[in-house]
């Protein structure tokens, strides 16, 4: 038996192909939306994985350091480092800023890290160019997506920093590239006030009788010095000894240090389930709407193509074609259209995905699921056209 669907497609292949390409661009948009969501999840995942930490110790009762503000004294790590099961610790300060460089502005996350040894938790796990930070001030390691080069100087707040190394896939949970600087510099960037504010604050303190008592020398200076010191970090990152139980060590930190400690699994839950929950719902809504629009478009195209063949279908029915022959012709065309659309969409998403400002991750599993959904939508969408075709009266082929 002749494959009527294939013959019809080949007969009008140009129209069919262009329709498939148009549909493919829509499917490509849908796949890209899924890729944006996967990219957000992956950004969160690499943030956790690349930090080199097993535990995140933060201010008590907060979801810090990524989802909520958290502030700890920068010597907190000392008491944690001595606990059983703890192999290493590292202070971390995080701050997202708008960076103006070479005439362009971009959003970056400044990460303050202990620069005394490169292997501390919080330091980038590997470099793709340059060297680790070796000085305690004004050196930086940047993620390649920040657009900086080794040796370049970049102004961050009041000071110029020399980029000494580049790293890869070190991004915030929002996908902003990270710039690593020594902890002291990050503390200054994050907590230190500008000169005008400092003068103003000193004057206020001097005007406060509680800090400027007659006969108490040194009190005012001590109070003013305290106000201008930046001694806080956002989190202490903890690497555990091999075999140590993360839940048990986290429990000990919570119990004895009056701090909150999160394990990797808990941090994943905070970053992926809580921090990007609204965004993922938003993208989920887009995906549902795009799937409905895709289904409606396939249904409309197939319906229109079928209705353009009313006379041929009437003749086929009159000369004895079975309903299933006609239904198969329509369904096969819908499936073929969906197949072309999916292939074009997958290629299009792969081509334009890297041009997106944030990471777009196209997973093979999503592509397979997307293929299944497109095929199911195509099949279901063809039912309207099949219903209409089967309702065509063979008598329409006969005049009168």
């Amino acid at each position: 038996m002749i494959n009527l669907a294939a013959r019809d497609v080949l007969h009008g292949w140009g129209k069919f192909l262009f329709t498939g390409i148009g549909l493919g661009l829509l499917i490509g948009t849908t796949l890209t939306m899924a890729g944006v969501f996967r990219g957000m999840v992956d950004d969160g995942q690499v943030l956790i994985d690349n930090s080199g930490a097993d535990l995140w110790v933060v201010q008590q009762g907060t979801l810090g350091p990524y989802a909520e503000p958290s502030s700890l004294r920068d010597d907190t790590w000392r008491s944690i480092a001595g606990m059983p099961g703890v192999a290493d610790t590292g202070n971390a300060a995080y701050l997202t800023i708008q960076l103006a460089h070479a005439g362009k502005e971009s959003r970056v996350m400044i990460v303050g890290m202990d620069a005394d040894r490169p292997g501390r938790p919080g330091a980038p796990p590997y470099l793709i160019a340059g060297r680790p930070i070796q000085q305690h001030h004004y050196e930086a390691i940047a993620d390649e997506r920040a657009g900086l080069r080794v040796g370049e100087r970049v102004k961050i707040r009041r000071h110029d920093y020399t980029v000494v190394g580049l790293t890869r896939r070190m991004v915030s949970s929002s996908g902003d590239p990270m710039i690593f600087v020594p902890l002291k510099d990050a503390q200054e960037i994050q907590f230190l006030k500008d000169n005008d504010a400092l003068i103003n604050e000193r004057a206020r303190t001097a005007a406060n009788p509680a800090f400027n008592r007659p006969g108490v020398p040194g009190l005012l200076e001590a109070a003013q010095a305290s106000a201008t010191q930046a001694r806080s970090v956002n989190a202490v990152l903890v690497r555990l000894e091999p075999g140590a139980n993360p839940d048990s060590v986290a429990g000990e930190i919570r119990r004895w240090k009056r701090l909150t400690a999160y394990t990797k699994a808990q941090m994943e839950d905070i970053l992926i389930a809580k921090l990007i929950a609204t965004s993922s719902k938003q993208i989920g809504m887009f995906l549902v709407i795009l799937a409905i629009v895709t289904a409606a478009i396939i249904a409309f195209i197939i319906y229109t193509m079928t209705m353009a063949k009313v006379r041929e279908i009437a003749v086929l029915k009159l000369i004895g074609a079975r309903n299933r022959t006609i239904a198969a012709m329509i369904m096969q065309q819908a499936i073929a259209l969906g197949l072309i659309g999916f292939l074009v969409g997958r290629v299009a998403a792969g081509l334009w995905g890297p041009a997106f400002p944030k990471y777009v991750l196209l997973l093979p599993g999503d592509a397979i699921a997307g293929f299944g959904v497109v095929m199911a939508i195509s099949g279901l969408a063809s039912l309207f056209a099949i219903r209409a075709a089967l309702a065509i009266d063979p008598a329409e082929a006969i005049g009168g």
Partner: protein, 241 residues
Amino acid sequence: MDKDNKPAIRLSGLKKRYGSGDAAVDALKGVDMTVWPGEVVGLIGPSGSGKSTLLKCLGAVIEPSGGHMELAGETIYDGDSDGWKIPDLRALRRDRIGFVFQAPYLIPFLDVTDNVALLPMLAGSDNAAARKRALELLTALDVQHRAGAQVSQLSGGEQQRVAIARSLANHAPIILADEPTAPLDSERALTVVRILNEMAVQYQTAIIVVTHDEKIIPTFKRIYQIRDGKTHEEAGEGREI
């Protein structure tokens, strides 16, 4: 024609009523008709006289409201008992009735051979046998040189020949031709009628030609004129083409 054989089609008292009650319209009020194998008869009448309704009843597309209909000696409709006697009307149309329309209505996405071969394929023939039969008919109708062409590449006359070939593809004992010469000029119209006559004799098929075409009416040996839902048999001129 061998009148010892059974008629290809025999109608007696065939009726068709559309609607019911006060809105009922009797399109056919008792049609009698007998057509023999190898015979081409004309069915003429003014617009609205019931020609198309009769054609649709003959083609098992609509169900008559009464009367009796035989195809090659087999009762296919009996208004006095249960109506259709054939459970699968689609198969009846496919295997035993050929259709030629006013416009050829070929399937535009199939080539000439496959347009003809489609019918045997729908009836279950394998592709090779169906295409062999198609080429045989295309040769008989002198369009074998267009066998691989697309429908859109054919002239109107060639398309109508292919449509006739399709109607013959399943060895149907009866062919219903609905205004088959309407879109053609005189010469081509007469050629189509000549072909129908030749095919009727060659394949012993009864052909009923519904027409308004004054050019071809004189060529029929027998004519059924339909007026007010009833047929009146007349002798035609049977003019040689």
